[in-house]
Amino acid sequence: MTEIRAIPLGAGQDVGRSCILIEIGGKNIMLDCGMHMGYNDDRRFPDFSFIRKSGDLTPYLDCVIISHFHLDHCGALPYMTEMVGYNGPIYMTHPTKAVCPILLEDYRKLTVEKKGEQNFFTSEMIKKCMSKCVAVNLHQTIQVDSELRIKPYYAGHVLGAAMFHVEVKNQSLVYTGDYNMTPDRHLGAASIDKCRPDLLITESTYATTIRDSKRCRERDFLQKVHECVERDGKVLIPVFALGRAQELCILLETYWERMNLKVPIYFAVGLTEKANNYYKMFITWTNQKIKQTFLERNMFEFKHIRAFDRSFIENPGSMVVLATPGMLHSGLSLQIFKKWAPFEKNMVIMPGYCVQGTVGFKILSGQRKLDIDGHPLEVKMSVQYMSFSAHADAKGIMQLIGMCEPKNVMLVHGEGGKMQFLKAKIEREYGTSCYMPANGEMAIIDTKTNMEANISIPLLKRTLAVGNTKNDIPEPKKCRTLHAAVVMNNNKLTIVDTDETVNNVLNKNLHHIQYSTCLPIPAKESAKSLFDLLTDVLQDVVVTHSADGTISVDDVDIHIEQEDESCKKAMISWQHEDEQLGSFVCKLIKQHCKSITNEEEN
């Protein structure tokens, strides 16, 4: 098995419903299990019948990995485990495990209680599902079974977001989930070792964007908010309860304090205190600055930001409200939006990406006459888009590729057209193949893996010593030729010394054959010039020139002999096993001498 197969059930040339099936080294892994915010029908969940027509998925999956708590990455989890059926392990970080059930419950309430849908997962199912989740710590290597190992890395995107390194025997891949390569107000930047995976599956939400500096964006944002409240307007900022909301709060809080503003800021999130509590408890997952100052002052205790009440919607005067959900598709943020939209002095700031089909998406694409649940609505308020969403931009994605040096790249979680652009860029700049399968399409990635074997230590040491004269520094990057016998031991290849093994096994001695070829060389040639020639041509082989005049090309030796004034000879010697290199060196020197003689004659 020298290939990795990947099929996106969601997030293939699309944003939302992240769910990628992987077959690596005979193991089947599901990366994320998200839902799509843009749909209300069957399409909102991944099509699990792809794995099995019906019935329990447990025998078909070795594990499920959840990268972070956003619903487009974990929203279908209870549906999959409890309604489709899966009892195997599910891995996620501690903060994800803590926050995930709350967002799932929110989502469930919205769907069942507000929209009155039947046949949806229940609270009980969420609980059961979460009990199957195993919480993991950053950088901890988890041995899923004897062959499959996973290791999470910091991804930045939201509290507890992780990238996962998956390794089966000699094959490996990295799945980024969503990540952010620039540290923000409350989270650090994603980082990973140079782990050289066979495949990097990266999100590509901002595949074509190169964002200006974060500071500028923040200043813009604050300026716009400030201007709006100055002219007595109301500012609505739709957010998700956890993540961006906390960053914006820190931003507004510090600005309000600095500018000594009195305009009220409200945080209309059902879970305000709870949400902020999570940040307090998982402070080790935030950035360095917050970690260092938490003893004196917890950044998540806000002075200027107060809880919102529905009745405040009609309040006169300016205010700033952060309300959920972030894409204006339902709930309080939509309700406030409907009230405030008809007035020019008001403003809505969309701080993140909006999925197609949501009100957020419509107003961002310039639509000003909306139809919401059958009621027409004309949007007169100013609509602003501020990319605060913590995804890596094109530069960040390229940076991550440089960081982990994958052999292949696969793009998910982005729009097809933009992916195309990034794919070309990656292939051009890194020379790695890049895949971008659509949903349901399989990408087959060929991997070359080395086979593991044992090698006898004396043999290894002897081989490595070739070309290391007494006091010089070994040349580790050069190759040495190794000829050896191979025996099978407990199903593992063992490389051993040929002489010894032939002796032991066959009770016979090896018959050594040495070839020596004597070549006449032009008088002006010297050991030095031949050495230069050989080092130049054979750049990857150890070529040494020892004090007694012998040149060694790996195991091939060359002596220069001066017979008389006009005649010099090169004696080239090698063993039977080194025939290839020996005859090559011979030919090379012959050709070289010939060309020199020809030059002289001309």
């Binding site: 020298t2 803590a98 709870k274 044992n454 000829h483 050896a484 016998a485 191979v486 050594h512 011979c586």
Partner: protein, 650 residues
């Protein structure tokens, strides 16, 4: 494999492991028992209850009256307390590649190494270990900083003086090597050099060793270290606990299948004092004292078991309706310690971890602080005097009773028998610790709580680990308390160098898939499968890879990449010369002269016309020719035809 034992104290481990050309230091613990030889340092320079007399020696003229004081017939050094370091001179510390730290206690000598020696390697520890250790360090520094400056006692240390002193000073070990505590700057600089690891996060040391921290259940973030090559495994067991308290529980799976087990720390406590029993008695005694209107003094470290003490005691007080009794935690790092404990959820027991998902703070002391039942103070001068209500429970340091606010409390409460001092820290012989304060009217109860593994549990660990070799400290074992397993046990003491026979025969190598596919294995003899391999050996970061012969630069026209059949066979046995000449003739070489060299087995074959000579010996053949490839390849063909070969026949 060699193990240098820099410390002999069972619970103050410090080793250097030399293995595979790599030097690894395992822990570096500070021995604080030396401080017991010093006079307790008063918190405020006020008249104290400790009656000291200058001590005039009879055997020497050396002036010791400033240095040595007599208290209750016992001698104490009148100087800033000093500490006994591991034997750092045993090895050139610049040779150490990495230091592995198992828990916060075993890190306390680290600043001496990073700041005052030539060590430049890497240091690995878990994040909580680093945070907690830094608190222990800062606490001690702060305690000592507050003290009035004392003169520096050195004369008593001279060997000829010391050997004439009465015990215990006479028996103090190597006082000349004792050192003053490091300072704040040392600690800062030292901690900045430590890299954090998670449990089960494998770290590669120069590609030769893989080191992994495995949860040890002893303190928040404490670990045992696994040091592995692809074949061998050494498990280093430091402070470990099989009990379920607040830290994440012991990962006993990880030490299985070890070749060598280094067992450095065992519980101090005698068998009959199970920690649960001790904890129970601790609560009862504290409650009795409070009930009778007395105060309870608990000398303690700023973290670790202290969290359990607070938790258990507050629960006990709730149960007996004493929930209004205030707890005071007095330490320069008390607030920090409590705050940090509540953000390390990942490192806590499952039960504590689950509370975070609510989200609630994992430790009840968060709630106790919020409700004001538990108050923290940096020192007694930090507004404590105003807040204090009797009766109360005070947790404070340092448990050696030689410095810190505890000295003040012993002086303040020591003269009243309604008060109780509850000693739970097992690290110091308690009678020696309280000796300079005698006579004390307050009750002193010794209820040592040591959650570490006992001998019995150690036996179980040894069996589970299936280790072929066990190394443990001499003083852990006594004839009455032997280890029962059959495994050979090597005992160590300070200064020992132990050689452990680990025979390493093989190293791991990656074989390029193309080469691997081209290895043709044949069963040469029944049960023996053999083949041959050729390739280029490349070594990078101590990882070996066998690659196929490299493709050439465009400038070189042809260098055959694939090996020919002939090369991949191995000639064996002897060459039959008549057969060989016959074969040569068949290939068109006619001018052949065979010359026998005297009575030796050497035969020379001259091919005069073709300018070549072949020297045949029993196990080797030398072919010398004058540059003609045509001739040489014919000779080669004939040789391989005549010799018996092993290898593939494709």
């Amino acid at each position: 494999m060699k193990l240098y034992c820099l410390s002999g104290e069972p619970n103050k481990p410090c080793f250097i492991l030399r293995f595979k050309g790599t030097s690894v230091m395992l822990d570096c613990t500070l021995d604080m028992c030396s401080t017991l030889n010093f006079l307790p340092l008063p918190v405020v320079p006020s008249p104290t209850n400790i009656e000291t007399k200058p001590w005039i020696p009879t055997f020497t003229a050396a002036r010791l009256e400033d240095e040595i004081k007599e208290v209750q017939d016992k001698l104490y050094v009148n100087s800033e307390p000093e500490f006994y370091l591991p034997e750092l001179a045993m090895i050139d510390l610049s040779e150490i590649d990495v230091i592995l730290i198992s828990n916060l206690h075993n890190m306390l000598a680290l600043p001496y190494i990073t700041e005052y020696t030539s060590f430049t390697g890497k240091i690995l520890a878990t994040e909580p270990t680093v945070q907690m250790a830094s608190m222990y360090m800062y606490e001690m520094i702060e305690y000592l900083r507050r003290m009035p400056k004392l003169n520096n006692a050195t004369r008593w240390k001279q060997t000829k003086v010391q050997c004439n002193l009465p015990p215990p000073l006479r028996d103090a070990i190597e006082p000349l090597k004792w050192r003053k505590l490091y300072n704040r700057h040392d600690v800062q600089s030292c901690l900045s050099k430590v890299s954090n690891v998670s449990y089960n996060e494998s770290q590669n040391i120069f590609g030769t060793l893989k080191v992994t921290a495995a949860s040890s259940g002893f303190r928040i973030g404490s670990c045992n270290w696994l040091i592995e090559t692809h074949q061998e495994k050494i498990s280093y067991i430091s402070g470990s606990s099989t009990l379920i308290t607040h830290p994440k529980s012991l990962d006993s799976e990880s030490i299985k299948r070890s070749d060598v087990l280094i067992l450095s720390t065992l519980s101090h406590a005698p068998n009959e004092s199970h920690p649960d029993t001790m904890m129970g008695e601790f609560c009862v005694i504290a409650a009795q004292t409070i009930k009778s209107g007395g105060n309870v003094l608990v000398p303690c470290y700023p973290s670790g078991v202290t969290y359990d003490l607070i938790e258990c005691l507050s629960n006990h007080f709730d149960n007996i309706g004493q929930s209004t009794i205030p707890f005071y935690f007095i330490s320069p790092v008390a607030h920090n310690s409590l705050s940090y404990s509540n953000i390390f959820a990942e490192w806590l027991s499952g039960k504590k971890q689950n509370r975070v998902y609510m989200p609630e703070a994992p430790f009840p002391h968060a709630k106790l602080t919020k409700t004001g039942r538990l108050k923290t103070f940096k020192s007694i001068e930090d507004g404590f005097q105003l807040e204090m209500k009797n009766p109360c429970v005070v947790f404070t340091g340092h448990p050696s009773l030689r410095f810190g606010d505890v000295v003040h409390f012993i002086e303040m409460w020591g003269q009243s028998q309604i008060n109780t001092m509850l000693i739970t820290v097992p690290d110091f012989p308690y009678l020696d610790a309280i000796a300079p304060f005698q006579p004390l009217a307050m009750k002193v109860a010794h209820r040592p709580i040591d959650t570490g593994v006992t001998l019995e549990q150690a036996d179980k660990m040894i069996i589970e680990s299936q280790a072929a070799n066990v190394i443990t400290t001499e003083s852990c074992l006594s004839p009455e308390n032997p280890l029962h397993s059959d495994v050979p046990i090597t005992k160590y003491k300070r200064g020992d160098v132990i050689s452990v026979p680990i025979k390493r025969q093989f190293e791991l190598i990656g074989v390029d898939s193309e080469i691997a596919n081209n290895i043709h294995l044949r069963e040469i003899l029944p049960g023996t499968v053999m083949g041959f391999v050729s390739g280029h050996l490349v070594t990078q970061d101590n990882k070996h890879i066998l690659r196929r012969f490299p493709s050439q630069k465009a400038t070189i026209k042809k260098r055959k990449l694939e090996m020919t059949n002939k090369e991949s066979v191995c000639p064996i046995g002897q060459l039959n010369v008549p057969d060989f000449t016959h074969e040569l003739k068949k290939l068109g070489i006619t001018d052949i002269k065979v010359e026998h060299k005297g009575d030796s087995e050497t035969v020379l074959v001259h091919l005069n016309e073709d300018d070549a000579i072949i020297r045949v010996e029993p196990n080797s053949t030398f072919v010398i020719c004058q540059g003609s490839e045509r001739v040489r390849s014919k000779i080669r063909e004939a040789l391989l035809y005549c010799l018996e070969t092993v290898g593939c026949n494709r």
